[in-house]
Symmetry: C2
Subunit: 287 residues, 2 copies
């Protein structure tokens, strides 16, 4: 297992972690200044500055990517919506290429409209079928341009509105179905926040292996957790066994960045400098 | 599949649903008045009125039980805590016998202290081992007195503080391990709130079969869900496919009560009469 105590060379920052404090160009600079060598940016953050400008700044600072957030949200109420989702995923793949991302992370979506409290339908199996078909279609284009897709299972508490792929096992079943040859172009993103509770986690990480384990995200689970979306904890402030899980991840041969992704009203309310410095300190001490 | 549209004879009320409005003696009377033939009471509600008084009132009104809530919370910080948990579960089994419950529902517990924001340890595998040992020990006593134990997997969002058994598959694996002979004394309680998201739900309900499917609880999943514990929805107000899941449950041969259990700050703020009348109406229309 890699030793994180003496260096944060393997740290990547998911830029949602300081999205309320800074625009993405500033985030890139603040990371570079601290020796954070990689980031995983969100499309809206990229768009707010400009894709080409971000690509240039990444090159200039020598900043790498650990992923690009995000594609997905495939299910829709009707055929036009399904087509629009596919077109949008194609654009996301193109953007990921432009910024030289190692993978496009897929938050696959769930019941269409549920995010606004108005589910167009309740048929979860239908949503899962639309997700499968959407990934299959996107994978065709991803193969053409050589951009791996990483299915991120989200916590079951987000099954209604954000992602109806909720376990690593389910995500890997999709990989088996859609990419039986293990081309490396379809895999999973394993975020401890979404998966730490899973009794089959170690087994499924091992099953994924290095060909399919495309990203490893960390933060922590707070007790109590006050919000289903924006109350994630800084590493060490919660109950997730970060080192144990990282041991499972690295036992597969995974040698990529360990990406810190914290959606938190608390941390969004702190100075960005403090957040990054704390990420680095905790990364070295507890991740 | 049973027809619920013309009668609520199969409705049971989990008495937590109106715990803020009435004491348990009143709840029993209000249910009896409405033709609700069964309840599932909580130990603290029973204790507040008196075990013998509740047993008498159940007999007098002809009210049956669909379960008794609850045993469990096995993990502890030390040996004394583990012993205390076993003793408490023994008392819960005795109480369940006194009120003639068909099963004692187990909310198995998780990281000790996490409910107060101070986890004594973070080792989830240890907690799961203590749960297994605790159920094994309690099952010995349950066999002696003939009181089935129903392991209730809780939603993964409660894995840290309330129950580290989080899927039906995991609960049934425990049943296989601890009661390989399928004696009928160890099974599961399937609450749609905790399990609706599970891609393996249909398969695992079928696996449970009538011998191990000891209880079926309903309510609904709201979008958005504003609280991890007390924002459950009334049947029909959320996105859970209640009839589809009940179809799977009844396909196993399950013929027991369908238990309504709603932890909700909203419904606790409404008059108890309105809550019960709404439960009955929704039971007939959407459950």
């Amino acid at each position: 297992m890699r030793d994180f105590s003496t260096s944060h060379e393997h740290l990547s920052l998911n830029t949602a972690t300081v999205r309320k404090q800074w625009k993405l160009d500033r985030i890139i600079d603040e990371c570079a200044r601290r020796g954070i060598r990689a980031i995983s940016p969100w499309r809206d953050q990229v768009a707010a500055v400009g894709l080409e400008e971000i690509a240039r700044r990444l090159r200039d600072t020598g900043t790498r990517l650990s992923g690009y957030c995000r594609g997905g949200f495939f299910p829709a109420a009707d055929a036009a919506g399904l087509r629009a989702a596919l077109a949008d995923n194609r654009r996301a793949i193109d953007e990921a290429k432009t910024v030289n991302a190692p993978c496009l992370v897929l938050v696959v979506g769930a019941l269409p409209g549920a995010l606004d409290g108005k589910a167009a339908y309740k048929d979860l199996a239908r949503a899962r079928g639309e997700v499968r078909d959407g990934i299959a279609a996107s994978l065709e284009y991803a193969r053409q341009v050589g951009m791996p897709l990483a299915i991120e299972p989200l916590h079951p508490m987000q099954a209604a509105d954000r992602a109806c792929v909720n376990t690593l096992e389910q995500a890997l079943d999709l990989c088996d179905e859609l990419d039986p040859g293990r081309s490396g172009l379809l895999g999973v993103a394993c975020d401890v926040y979404h998966t730490w509770w899973d009794p089959k986690l170690a087994e499924q990480i091992d099953r994924a292996g290095p060909k399919r384990l495309l990203a490893h995200h960390v933060c922590d689970w707070l007790t109590p957790t006050r919000d289903l979306l924006n109350d994630r904890g800084m590493m060490g402030d919660g109950v997730i066994e970060l080192k144990k899980i990282r041991g499972w991840v690295e036992a597969t041969g995974f040698g990529g960045f360990c990406e810190v992704e914290i959606f938190s009203d608390y941390w969004w309310g702190r100075p960005g400098e403090e957040v990054l410095d704390t990420c680095i300190a905790r990364f070295s001490s507890v991740a």
